[in-house]
Symmetry: D3
Subunit: 145 residues, 6 copies
């Protein structure tokens, strides 16, 4: 099995807070990430697609094809934006890297042909990253029923 990986990055502002909590409770939960006026990051994104090689082309999936999907569906929406306010698919979602990875997965997974999405990694600093490998098949079936 092959796993093809592309990387991209975006620069965005965010604030971690639950609207139902006081500023003090948000600070207790999210620390300095709850700063009321927000802060920001250069986010690193890795998108990995698993598949078999096509012997005729020597490729699983064209890098450019994944890159274009990621650019148009994700990077163009989140780069140089405020993730709490500006992004339609983040509305009502606390903009943690976990939630971003999960949402990016949901956006990308139906669009991948010639393979299947393997994982999405989002990092907000080189020292803080989350990898999401999709819902487990068992739970997916339950979710469908």
């Amino acid at each position: 099995m092959f796993i093809v990986k592309i990387r991209a990055s975006y620069s965005a502002a965010h604030r971690l807070c639950r609207e139902d909590l006081s500023e003090e409770a948000n600070y207790a939960l999210y620390g300095k990430c709850s700063n009321p006026n927000g802060h920001g990051h250069n986010y690193d994104l890795e998108v990995a697609v698993a598949g078999e090689i096509d012997p005729a082309t020597g490729m699983v999936i064209n890098f450019c094809e994944i890159q274009q999907l990621v650019d148009s569906l994700i990077i163009d929406q989140v780069d140089h934006k405020n993730l709490n306010v500006d992004v339609a698919f983040m509305r009502g979602v606390i903009p943690t890297v976990e939630n971003m990875a999960r949402i990016f997965w949901d956006i990308l997974t139906p669009r991948i042909r010639n393979g299947r999405l393997h994982h999405v990694t989002v990092g907000e600093r080189n020292s803080n990253m989350v990898t999401y490998a999709g819902p487990s098949p068992a739970r997916s079936k339950l979710a469908d029923s």
Copy 2:
């Protein structure tokens, strides 16, 4: 001559805009960096001090001493903050990396002992950086007179 360099980083939100301009004019001037709700970066900071080696210690200046100055005077003020709103020494200043480098220079230069500040570099992405080496001596003298 020796140049001792330390590096630090901070994550902050900013928006580039001139209050006297319309949103369209700001976009023409600053592009996507003028997004009204802001965006953000992991900023990289390099502070360089020039000096002579002290033969007794083998050091120009203790790395920890510069690091502590930079942490307390700069990083603690800007990390996880909104640079347009939250930072006293950025008030009324358009938060470009040029202005940050200049202001950080002004904050640090009187505090450096055992050497003199050589340059300050601020980067907002690995591909976009500014180095400020201080006002030229000539202009400094003029400024003093």
Copy 3:
């Protein structure tokens, strides 16, 4: 499933040698890493925790919580130390990256709440790394009986 990863680093000296072997035999086994007076590295550490997202917070586990565990239980013990001499939990252990990964796992795994330790990676140079994913469940049960 989500995998949350934090990274840290420490600077330490070590020497690879077996006390029961001659200097020549140690050199044959460990090469230049057996230098009798030691050498050192900036070690890179990645700690990964697997878990489910808490919909109320959007987090699996707070990055800061893992970071504090890693800092207090590991980094504070090994940073700027001699791993053959100074570190209680390394006593009597050949300080290879394999052994460090295994010991760090054993230290961290009972302390992780809201998830379970997924892997520990220790690198002594960017080109030399080891990932340890814990004892296999089967062997773990045997070890318990």
Copy 4:
């Protein structure tokens, strides 16, 4: 289980094209990678070996042993070469990173003692990588019968 990883790099020229296709069809398939006179990369290679720790040495496999295998069997053959023309084991193969990962796997896997090859990752830029984890066991058996 431990996974020991070493990294190496090589600088090479390549051109992606199928000999049975016109220049236009190759451009449609491979984009700018089909440039008739070739282009090139600094390729990054990660080789990972899985195994158990030898308690007597604290190692799974000596880093130097893997490094030497990788250097002699791969790097010495591909570094500062044209992958379409100069490399015996790439002859007749479209030099995609997928094909390189697969061929490097086939070269290395019979040579690994004290463990088994876990994966091979080849990247042509930091943003474009492929990981190959070998043929699946089921298919391997079929292939043997």
Copy 5:
């Protein structure tokens, strides 16, 4: 004084050789870089512009403006190309990083407004770089006379 720096990269093939020399003499001069069928690199380019800050905008020169010049005048010409064959402004020039830095300087320097070109750095690996800071003013004057 401020120095604004942008970075870009390009992937290209090249061969170092003097047409007037034998293959052996080229190997003696350029080593493995003289491989007759070429090799390649991911080249790193840094372009630095020196200037004064415009207090009205907080900028020396818009990063995007430099980036667009570099992309259109350089990257679009050399990326995914063979530097010995495909690039008009490299024709008849041995494609060393020294020559690239010098030629990129000559291309960019008349196009920089709001400042002057300070240096151009070209690296073919992270370990091999050349910085060119332009002809010295003295020699420039001589060259003009």
Copy 6:
């Protein structure tokens, strides 16, 4: 003018201490770098040579030539060594990065042909570096007299 830069690295142990001071006084001066049993780093070294381009070759100086000088004169002496004990040219010298940069300069500068040594940078972590650009001409003359 061109500045050609090569980079190398070495892994070594060191301890910062003055033999004439108590352990407490050394800790006050050098902090955790005074740990009695030592610690270590992956040191990064940059060696820069300034010169004019040779139009016949397109090079200032062959990268390999500098690399070989640096490898044989420096890296082979300090890599996987204890800098306080094992290295002849460090004997009696407090192994700060300042002193290393100065000594490496003195070792390399008479060996550079086709140009002159421009600077030597030694870093013990990515965040802590020293650049040495040689004794000033004035002081050099005094030293000669």
